[in-house]
């Protein structure tokens, strides 16, 4: 570890391990935080950053390893215990009661009492003290809900300081902040450092990391991937350490010659990111991947294409014709299909049977006069899809809730294939699925593309993007930061674009 040998680290973790059913989230992870230091913790989605921070903040216990504070081992059994030890976690989604005042929030649960009643005067004065520490010039009686996000964040920091936090963990603190608010935050962080408070700063914004961090720790796949002292910190070095694993041989990628454009998005404005326009086209038989970090706006874009959150501006052309897609029903009519990110809540009616789920979207098309169900067509779809997708189920009358994740996903895909879509949108198609089922889904995607169906899929797994995509669109903060052709597809290039870089300096 890179602290000077005679300075005891403020906080240290050694050999931390944590497993969840089916996945090893952290393995032998070490981290060292010196006093008065800003340490940046970076890594891809799923690298283990959140898990590690939750362990430090007492939200979860580690399976193995130890935590040392000032060189002495400690047990962080609860969030209360963490606070008592001086470790405060500031979530990406702020934990404030917007209907209460600033002072009430800062002292929530620890209000100063006088004769059994809350002593407002003392609370206000004390609060003022901490607000000054973070440079927040606000009346302690103002309702938190009336403050801008940036200032709300300051309130959270003030709150952490009021418990004499010595370690402040900040998870993606600038994701909702404006430029000026970010600047103010940085000033505060630097100030805190002067006071001897250390900050663990988790962020995908490598530019910020470069500016703030005294030291950078990189995690990859739940393990330490490297350390960078301040002098060595630059974009390339960080990206290289964040990626850089071997591609496993899932994918036999063949050359495909895509046909005419199936979908074109022109100047499309998604309600989630109204400041940006997106533009791209997808051709018949193409598999296009959408890469990007969490929060980049990928799911939102798929939902706009599918009419769940209709576009605010721009146009979508299907087969060359402009389409108004203002609802999923309209999208389906144009030949679109979407397998959503949350399969249990959005993709399936979990209490219904396999058969009922498989036929759900096709009911309208297959109805008999007066709206009667066509049971024989439903039966046909069910038999065909269970067979074709190889859904492992005791029968098509099995309630979908009892199927494994992989089989549930197959039912979702089966439902959409029954609609014979022109363009299949997939949002994290293999999330939470075992290896065998993953392979089956990949080969299904390939078969579909071969038969002329276009596929646009969002994935947070680098291997999937690199292995399956003929082409990749990389998103960053609501816009498409770049498009990578087959030959340009590499982990570094994807990460570069995903973290806000640009195409000019791509590695070959």
């Amino acid at each position: 570890m890179e602290t000077a040998p005679d300075v005891v680290p403020l906080l240290e973790v050694r050999g931390i391990g944590k497993s969840f059913p089916g996945v090893r989230a952290l393995n032998e992870v070490d981290l060292s935080l010196a006093p008065a230091q800003v340490l940046a913790l970076i890594g891809e989605n799923g690298a283990g950053k959140s898990t590690l921070m939750k362990i430090l903040a007492g939200v979860q216990p580690p399976d193995e390893g130890e935590i040392l504070l000032d060189g002495k081992p400690v047990m962080v059994e609860s969030t209360r215990a963490a606070l008592d030890l001086g470790i405060a976690l500031i979530h990406q989604e702020l934990n404030l009661a917007t209907n209460l005042s600033v002072a009430s929030n800062v002292f929530l649960g620890r209000e100063p009492l006088r004769k059994g009643l809350i002593d407002d005067a003392v609370m206000r004065v004390d609060c003022r003290k901490y607000l000054d520490m973070v440079g927040l010039d606000v009346d302690p009686d103002v309702l938190v809900g009336d403050l801008a996000i940036g200032r709300q964040q300051m309130v959270e920091i003030a709150k952490a300081l009021s418990v004499d936090a010595r370690v402040l963990i900040m998870d993606e603190p600038t994701s909702s902040l404006s430029q000026s608010e970010t600047k103010a935050l940085f000033t505060v962080i630097k100030d805190l450092r002067e006071r001897g408070v250390s900050v663990i700063y988790i962020s995908h914004r490598l530019g910020e990391v470069k500016e703030l961090a005294d030291h950078v720790t990189i995690l990859r796949d739940g393990e330490n991937a490297g350390e960078l002292p301040r002098e060595e910190v630059n974009h390339d070095a960080m990206v290289r350490l964040m990626v850089g694993r071997d591609l496993s041989g899932y994918f036999g990628k063949k050359e495909r010659s895509p046909g005419d454009p199936v979908l074109e998005a022109r100047n499309l404005i998604c309600p989630a990111n109204p400041e940006h326009e997106v533009e791209f086209s997808i051709r018949e038989g193409e598999i296009v991947g959408i890469a990007g970090l969490v929060g980049a706006g990928r799911t939102e874009m798929l939902e706009t294409l599918f009419g769940v959150t209709p576009a605010l501006g721009g146009s979508i052309l299907m087969g060359g014709e402009k389409m108004i897609i203002d609802s999923p029903i309209a999208a389906i009519r144009t030949g679109l299909a979407l397998a959503p990110e949350d399969r249990k809540v959005q993709g399936l009616v979990i209490e219904m049977t396999v058969r009922e789920n498989l036929s759900l979207s096709a009911l309208r098309r297959d109805q008999r006069p007066l709206g009667f169900l066509d049971f024989s067509k439903e039966e046909a779809i069910s038999q065909e899809m269970v067979k074709r997708m190889r859904v492992k189920t005791p029968g098509d009358g099995q309630v979908v809730r009892y199927l494994s994740g992989g089989n549930q996903q197959k039912v979702v895909l089966g439902k959409w294939l029954a609609m014979k879509p022109a363009l299949l949108l997939l949002d994290e198609p293999t999330r939470g699925i075992d290896v065998g089922a993953k392979r089956e889904i990949y080969s299904l995607m390939e078969d579909l593309a071969d038969s002329g169906v276009a596929i646009l899929f969002v994935s947070s797994e680098m291997e999937e993007i690199l292995g399956m995509a003929d082409r990749a669109l990389v998103m960053h903060e609501g816009r498409i930061s770049g498009e990578l052709s087959r030959s340009e597809l590499s982990e570094e290039n994807v990460m570069r674009l995903a973290t806000g870089g640009d195409k000019e300096h791509l590695a070959a």
Binding site: P328, I329, I350, L360, S361, R364, G371, P394
Partner: protein, 498 residues
């Protein structure tokens, strides 16, 4: 879920068996069985309606108030009044001067006609002879002579009676002959418009009155031969007849259609408030509960209302009409099934087919379970939710028609109170989960029969009325608990297999 339906069916049959054994002389009588069918039909319609709303994970608390509103509307739409055929409105009457002024110019009366004056607040009714008719000018409120009326000089007004500004004058015809046995009356004058169900007020020379219903009327020369219903009593030649025309506000089919149309509009309103304005169903229908009852009371001036015997042979058949099965000696009497029950069965079959065999039923079941997934799958969840609310209010209105028929008169301040709870209870007992996405029409039918039987049980076993709600509440609670435990057991078994 079939287990649940089977369960309450067994409970129902068990209750019936118990009652049949314990109090057969009261439970198994023809009239009691008839009642069982009838009440199951009336409440069952409400239960089926609310089942659709519950299936879409909503709720409707306004059902009872809609029952009341539709009853009040129907009684208004079908109100009947009888007006004299040759009647005129009185503008003023002056018994001193033996003068009656009419509000309109008319040539309906000729000197020598016999007229009856009635309906005054101060002046006394009288039968008078008309001497002359002349035209006259009538003042308006400010005294200006603006319109024309008729001035009748008459003989026979009670000179001691006071002047008045109200009343009606109608022409009388003499009764020429009467056959008391057949009820045939011959009266002077050609009453071309007189028809079945009209009525005639007969007045004796001494002032006695009889009001009888016309069965038929035909012109015979210059006279009219009328067949009256019922006992003519002391009616005789020498009496006078005042024929009255029966005016029904609107025909029965139109009244029914209008009531159902209004209910449909209310259902649409509920549905739109829930889907477009995103209000909570509980709140929307709670307001409905309050508003519709208030409107009902206002419509009929908070008076008890009904249409009495007017529709004995038409609309009342709905609840009184029946198909007789067989008759036994007392105390059992005649066994019959009410027409209403057949209508209810029809509704139940249509509802079951709609729910289980059409894409719309499937959509509602899906959206009740998971509205987001339903939407993502291309189902128009807003439209189907609205359909649910519309079905519920239309069913409530249909039930309201039944209930109005069932009682001679209904009291708008309390009619229909708590009916939504019975309906929801029946639906829940029958397997509808308030979480949505689950429901069986057969279950609702059996659940309703169970509720009706429970009430009967309390009555027949002479258990105190006060405990009625308590007992019903406990049965529902036990039913739901049993359902939950059963579900859990089934789930455990499934999970360990799968």
């Amino acid at each position: 879920m079939n287990v649940k339906v089977l369960g309450i069916a067994l409970l129902l049959v068990g209750l019936w068996a118990f009652l049949a054994i314990e109090v057969p002389e009261r439970f198994l009588t023809g009239s009691n069985i008839f009642n069982l069918f009838l009440r199951t039909a009336m409440y069952g319609v409400l239960g089926i309606g609310v089942a659709f709303v519950i299936i879409t994970a909503g709720i409707d608390l306004s059902i009872g108030s809609i029952v009341c509103l539709s009853g009040c509307l129907l009684s208004l739409f079908l109100s009947v009044h009888y007006d004299p055929f040759e009647g005129q409105e009185v503008f003023a009457i002056d018994p001193d001067q033996q003068v009656i002024v009419l509000s309109e110019e008319t040539d309906m009366y000729k000197p020598g006609d016999l007229l009856r004056y009635f309906g005054g607040t101060k002046a006394r009714s009288a039968v008078v002879a008309l001497s002359s008719v002349e035209s006259t000018s009538l003042p308006d409120d400010s005294g200006t002579l603006t319109r024309k009326g008729s001035l009748l000089r008459v003989e026979g007004l009670d000179a001691n009676s006071s002047r008045d500004l109200r009343g009606t004058v109608a022409k009388l015809h003499s009764v020429k002959s009467i056959d008391a046995e057949t009820g045939a009356v011959l009266m002077a004058g050609k009453q071309i418009l007189l028809k079945e169900r009209d009525q005639i007020t007969f007045i004796s020379p001494k002032g006695a009155m009889e009001r009888l219903v016309v069965a038929s009327a035909e012109i015979s020369g210059d006279d009219t031969r009328v067949q009256v219903l019922g006992d003519p009593g002391s009616l005789d030649e020498g009496w006078f007849a005042m024929p009255l025309s029966r005016n029904q506000t609107m025909p029965v089919p139109m009244a029914l259609a209008l009531v159902l149309a209004i209910a449909l509009a209310l259902g649409l309103l509920h549905g739109l408030l829930v889907t477009k304005i995103r209000l909570q169903p509980f709140v929307v229908t709670l307001c409905g509960l309050l508003v519709y009852r208030g409107i009902s009371r206002w419509l009929v001036n908070d008076q008890d209302t009904g249409y009495g015997n007017e529709y004995e042979s038409s609309l009342s058949l709905l609840t009184n009409g029946k198909i007789t099965l067989w008759t036994m000696e007392e105390p059992f009497g005649t066994y019959a099934i009410p027409y209403a029950f057949f209508l209810f069965l029809l509704v139940a079959v249509l509802a079951a087919v709609f729910l289980n065999k059409t894409i719309y039923g499937r959509y509602m079941l899906a959206l009740g379970r998971n509205v987001e997934a339903a939407r993502f799958s291309g189902i128009d969840t807003d439209r189907m939710t609205v359909v649910g609310y519309v079905i519920c209010t239309v069913m409530a209105a249909l039930g309201g028609v039944f209930f109005l028929n069932y009682s001679d008169s209904i009291s708008p301040s309390s009619h229909g109170n708590f009916f939504e709870l019975y309906a929801i209870a029946a639906a829940v007992l029958g397997g509808c989960s308030l979480r949505g996405g689950e429901g069986s029409i057969l279950g609702v039918v059996i659940g309703t029969a169970l509720m009706v039987t429970l009430k009967m049980f309390i009555n027949l076993m002479k258990i105190s009325d006060t405990l009625e709600f308590a007992i019903i509440g406990i049965v529902i609670l036990l039913g739901v608990v049993a359902d939950e435990l059963l579900k859990r057991a089934v789930a455990k078994k499934r999970a360990s297999q799968g």
